[in-house]
């Protein structure tokens, strides 16, 4: 009996095939993840060069941190506004552009093009447009509306950040919805029409159930994405006015990189990880209830 039986050789080949990917995710995902966890148990003074184990102190601080509570509220508003606006607008555009009319290709391209623009360039242009004497207020002025100082009011700043982000990314979800819509078999609609179903009824009872897997996918992507929005905040509002747009990831950046509390910053990123994981898990569990073919 030799050691290298067929079975063992087969296994070895298999392991070798997965090794590059496995090593990659070990080095670039699991190890950094573990290190973040380790940092969160330490007080790390970057300037002084001290690195001291403090156990759960950072986590105790997490619970007592009032600014963290503010930033969780801001994050919730941002995520809720973004998900609702993005998904409903994307679905609306997809339905409109799924009609067999002239010019739809042009509009599809138009709505998708912001996805391809560099994020920072996009945000900088919007920053100019949202100034008190910017083009947004200029346009409103044509209709006799005296526009606010968008980025300086607490509510208008949050609305601005959400809208800028929605217009940037709505095209991506729109394309996904379009693909899903085109996968809905036409005979279903015909049969429904013969049964006397109106347009709204057909949309609610045929379209929505059949594209529900895509709705699940887009909502997971959008929610996870909304919790990681950073550049827009950094460019448009720097978390202000007050702390109205200091979302969790911006607060994390402030604590770690601006205030030099790297250990506490790591603790906040553990919290962010837990929140993202929990939301994703929740949506995944809920799919049985409302996604077709999943129950």
């Amino acid at each position: 009996m030799t050691f290298w039986t067929y079975r063992r050789r087969d296994n070895l080949v298999g392991y070798l095939f997965v090794a590059p990917a496995l090593l990659g995710s070990l080095a670039f995902v699991l190890v950094p993840l573990g290190m973040v966890g380790w940092y969160s148990l330490n007080e790390w003074n970057v300037l002084g060069g001290t690195f001291e184990f403090i156990g759960g102190e950072n986590y105790a601080r997490l619970l007592a941190d009032e600014k963290l509570r503010d930033s969780l509220v801001a994050t919730a508003w941002f995520a809720a506004g973004l998900v609702v606006l993005n998904l409903s607008l994307a679905l609306l555009l997809a339905v409109l552009l799924n009609q067999k009319l002239r010019g739809t290709t042009l509009f599809r391209t138009l709505f998708f093009s912001p996805v391809l623009v560099s994020l920072v360039a996009w945000t900088l242009v919007w920053q100019l447009m949202l100034q008190p004497e910017g083009s947004v207020n200029g346009l409103l002025g044509v209709f006799g509306v005296d526009g606010p100082n968008w980025l300086r009011g607490e509510t208008t700043a949050m609305v601005s950040v959400v809208v800028v982000q929605v217009i940037k990314n709505v095209g991506l979800n729109m394309v996904l919805f379009l693909a899903a819509l085109q996968g809905v078999p036409a005979p279903l609609y015909e049969a429904a029409k013969i049964d006397g179903a109106g347009a709204w009824r057909r949309f609610r009872s045929i379209t929505i159930p059949l594209i529900s897997p895509t709705i699940l996918l887009t909502s997971i992507i959008t929610i996870v994405g909304s919790l990681q929005v950073f550049a827009q905040i950094a460019v448009l509002t720097q978390g202000g006015p007050g702390t109205s747009t200091t979302v969790l990831i911006y607060y994390l950046y402030q604590q770690a990189f601006q205030f030099h509390h790297f250990g506490y910053g790591a603790t906040i990123s553990v919290l962010l990880f837990v929140i993202v994981a929990a939301l994703t898990l929740l949506q995944w569990q809920m799919r049985r209830k409302w996604v077709l073919h999943e129950s």
């Binding site: 070990l26 699991l30 190890v31 573990g34 290190m35 380790w38 790390w44 003074n45 970057v46 300037l47 002084g48 060069g49 100034q131 008190p132 004497e133 100082n149 980025l151 300086r152 720097q238 978390g239 202000g240 006015p241 007050g242 702390t243 200091t246 402030q254 990189f257 601006q258 205030f259 030099h260 790297f262």
Partner: protein
Amino acid sequence: MSRLTALIVAALLALTACSGSSAQSGPKSLRMTVWTANEAHLKLLNEIASEYKASHPDVTEIKFDSIPADGYTTTLTTQIAGGNAPDLAWILEESAPDFVSSGALAPIRAKVEKADELVPSAIKLWEKDGELYAYPFSTSPFGLFVNTDLVKELPKTWEQAVAASAGKNLVLPDFKYQNWAVLSAIWRGWGANAWSEDGRTCGFSSQEMKDAMTFVHKAIFTDKAIPGPGTTVDFFAGNAAMAVSQISRAGALKDAKFGWTLLPLPQGPKGDYAVIGQAGVGVLKRSKNAEAAADFLGFFTNAANSAKLAQFFPPVRQSLLNAETLAKSNPLIKPEQLQSVVIDGISKGVVKPSHQGQEELNQTIRAALDPLWKPDANVGQVLDGVCAKIKPLLERP
């Protein structure tokens, strides 16, 4: 799972092993982080570096690494955290207390040529227990730049300055309704302070501060002299009557298409005063070449090189602080302006507010001041609110 833990521990060990500092012998290469990307500045820095390398063959390279001023300190500390600390670094005055007190910098007094002639008030920020931890290579007083095409009568007081620029813009280029510390160039005229000398007591709720900020608020929303939040007006392009800015900005007026002059800051109710912004250069203790870096710093800041640097960065050496010497390197500014703004400014000026944990204070105060920048703001209430927010930060041990 235990294998994963072992791996993490191994990775951490590897990391700490790499970051251990040990003196390096043989050819050395030095890196200094700076926030200027100005070609004329870099040309001068490189000239000084070449001269040093010529007499020190063991130093093969001196590299000036430009990092944008916006987020400079953040980038610098991230480099330090990542084990990629520079050998020398420019340091903004607002980060001085953090850098000096943390022990991140190496002592340099012994390397500085004629350290006794440095203006005492100008090096205070960079000292601890009698030792010098960074050399203030640029000490730049705030002054009032006036566009003489737009303003005929030069103002002596803040009241006059605001009245003369009503509707014609009095700008504070670096303020942007974010960098509140720039406002100290105004409120010092009222005798106000961000915090007490020892940094323990908040000064925002004092009567002086309330009077000064009421004046600023009125200048923005009633007199329409200071452009409102979100509006950008460029003095250096000729679009504003006046600008409160640092003298080091005068270079931007080289090709100005309008008449201009430079005045000391106008008088407030408390009379004459001056405010300065500073920048120091220090040696990172963790640098493998700390010794060589400190040696280069000594050369970089010696009297001869300070005189060269003075054309961009006002010096703190008494021997250079006379209108005659400064005039040689500042052709744009008249000798009497150099005397009244630069020389008097450096000798009697107060440095912009700085404190340990400055960045956290910056953000907290910025957020607490935001409600002030509305036409109907209650100034007193907002300022009391600032003190309520920063009290725990100031009292932190």
